[in-house]
Amino acid sequence: MDVVLADRLQFSFTVMFHYLFPIGTMGIAPFIVWYNYRALKTGEARYAAAARFWTKIFGVNFAIGVVTGIPMEFQFGTNWAAFSDKTGPVIGQPLMIEGVYAFFLESIFLGVLLYGRERVSPRLYLFSAVAVWLGSWLSGYFIVVTDAWMQHPVGYSLGPAGQIQLQSLAAVLFSPFAQWQYAHVMTGAVVAGGFIVAGIGAYYLLAKRDLEFGRDFVRSGVIVALAGSVLVIFPTGDRNGADITAYQPVKLAAMEGLFESTNGAPLAIVGMPDVPGHKLIDPIFVPDLLSFLAYGSFRANVNGLTSYATELWPPVELTYYAYHVMVGLGTIFIAVAAGAAFLLWRRKLFETPPALWVLLLLMPFPYIANEAGWVTAEVGRQPWIVYGLMKTQAGTSPNVVTGETIFTLIGFAGMYFLLGLLFVMLTLREISIGPAEEVAR
């Protein structure tokens, strides 16, 4: 196997596995703050119990997230030494700031949240919940800033020998590309958080146990999921898409499976790309819609893949499917959340088992949508490791060979399989113990 492919497989595997857990922590953290706030405000034991229940679920997520996150910080150096050497003056900055400003905050205050309930005042305890939320969301920001720079490099200059130098730290940290990407990523996590809370609530209602909590979780989960699934598409997804249209038109063409440049380009709802044949197989099109979404005019020209040299195409099939999976699921999320919210408003949701079943079974899909979004962003960025500036091929470690990377990839695969089993087992156990058990404590 080619060493570049081995390194890419390793990075995509470790980062995709890792990201499952930040989805959970970033999505659940606001609920922990909410329940702790209600507990402090009303003094009711059930809110404190709900906060403790979600803190335990958060804790398992955090534990796996933190141990799988450590390799991410160091893999740039181990497997992508040429990339790190060249871009470190710029992308090292947000990574360093993430450690100093966000990761400390989350880790240190989580210690209080997990172990400090009887040792600190209720106010400091609530403050710790807020700090953990802030830490997890700030972490997300600096990581997105790092990625946004690879998508659309800004705030740098080239030195006499072609080396990349930092021109403006502020330009990197407040890159306009990062703003909408971050908003999109975070609303994606909020959608996941909403559906996780609603799904577990639905389970309690269907299982006819912990009913008071089940109703509360379904109610707050559905409201958050509805708000999130609207915001994830408009404005955040739409604006992020506008940035891609402006700065990465090849990626846009691959996402949409558009091979030929077209005035009034149609939007493919389904279809399978036939890359050698330059067409979609069995497509269903909405005429002119892609032109409208990309440029605000139904007759606008959208460049197809064939307007660009083939060596600048990303892997078309993967980019296309990842994007369509994300958008398709996003549409389903709005429909489900809106339907559930309607039933909630009519006060029928808790007595409608089919709707609760849908909420329960939907739980894995926000994870898939979040991961598919990242695959669209990162596979669609190929063949560049830094868009327009450095090719992925040129980024690997000169002295690490395929055999070493395959060995460590197998090691990571084994380790992460074990971690995945532990996560499922311990999360199911916490759910089966349930929040009602917490009231007595």
Partner: protein, 342 residues
């Protein structure tokens, strides 16, 4: 100038990591020998439970700082020591998982398994960190670009192994002092007594490594004055660790141990200076100094300021929380171990 400040910042962050996570690792490594019952073992782990994750962030943040401030050194060293590095990552993962999940299921088997995993991975981590430091201070086989040309086996040379043993003894002593200062009752007292024994091993290893370092670098030591002062400071602190332990002053022994380790690491950093990767005598490469590895100074100054201000904030809220949430624990009856979130 900014390069020197950046070097000092990273050295300080790694020192903070060793001082803080050092007691987690040391206490976990010695736990099987120190604890007589499962309840005692749980008390040791619970004394570090709320803090280990925040302590470990010092390592991650130092990695980020190395990436930002000396990208060339970050790239060359992490890929150059590929396999040992990945093994360290795996051990860190095992350690973290063991600490976080040991109390999540009822039953003694579950806890015994994770406690064994915790102790083994902690002990190996300390040894590997020590060996790594030994190689950095002792010098490496490097090619002209600064990439490592030796083998895994060559990293386990006599000098580096000696530093690895010093690290194990020193951090076990540190962990014992932490347990003595933070766990009440017979367990804390026993930890203090154990220091009396470990102290001799630390002292022998310290003297041996110091003599070997002087012999190795006697002609070539830019930071010699700093190294000498720091080393003497470490020796004084080490004497104080032994004395405090004998007199039964647990907290004083812990503070002295902090000072001892800080002294050792400052001495190590001064010995390395101005290198990030020091070539060993007779190597073909020139090594990698802080001046070659750093990006242009102008771009560094602001990042350094941002990092330093952030770290002052981190230290402030860490200290605040330690005061609000003292780490004192006591040994519980069998089977009554607390688990997170309860």
């Amino acid at each position: 100038m900014t390069s020197v400040v950046a070097f000092c910042l990273i050295a300080a962050m790694l020192t903070a990591y060793t001082l803080l996570d050092g007691y987690d690792l040391g206490a976990a490594a010695i736990a099987p020998l120190l604890a007589r019952t499962r309840g005692e073992r749980s008390a040791i782990v619970e004394s570090i439970g709320p803090f280990w994750s925040g302590n470990e962030v010092w390592l991650v943040a130092a990695g980020g700082a190395l990436f930002a401030l000396f990208p060339r050194a970050y790239a060359v060293s992490f890929s150059g020591f590929y396999l040992p590095f990945i093994i360290v990552l795996w051990l860190l993962m095992f350690r973290g998982i063991a600490l976080e999940l040991r109390a999540h299921l009822p039953g003694d088997m579950w806890m015994d398994f994770w406690d064994a995993a915790l102790s083994i991975s902690s002990a190996l981590l300390v040894l590997l960190f020590g060996v790594a430091l030994g190689n950095l201070v002792g010098g490496l086989a490097l090619d002209a670009d600064g990439y490592f040309t030796g083998t895994f086996g060559s990293l386990l040379n006599l000098y580096a192994t000696a530093v690895g043993l010093l690290a194990v003894f020193a951090l076990v002593q540190h962990g014992l002092a932490y347990v003595a200062a933070h766990v009440e009752g017979a367990l804390g007292e026993r930890a203090l007594r154990y220091i009396g024994t470990v102290w001799w091993l630390v002292t022998i290893a310290y003297l041996g490594v110091t003599a070997a370092t002087i012999a190795l670098h006697r002609n070539d030591l830019a930071g010699a004055p700093f190294a000498t002062v720091a080393s003497a400071f470490a020796l004084a602190a080490l004497v104080s660790v032994g004395r405090s332990a004998r007199l039964g002053h647990a907290m004083a022994a812990f503070w002295a141990s902090l000072a001892f380790i800080a002294g050792l690491l400052v001495a190590a950093a001064a010995t390395m200076y101005p290198y990030l990767l020091r070539p060993h005598a007779g190597a073909t490469g020139r090594g990698l100094t802080i001046f070659q590895a750093a990006p242009p100074p102008a771009s560094l100054a602001l990042s350094l300021a941002v990092a330093v201000i952030g770290l002052i904030g981190v230290i402030a809220y860490s200290v605040f929380l330690r005061r609000r949430m003292p780490a004192k624990v006591s040994v519980r009856e069998e089977g009554a171990a607390a688990s997170p979130g309860r």
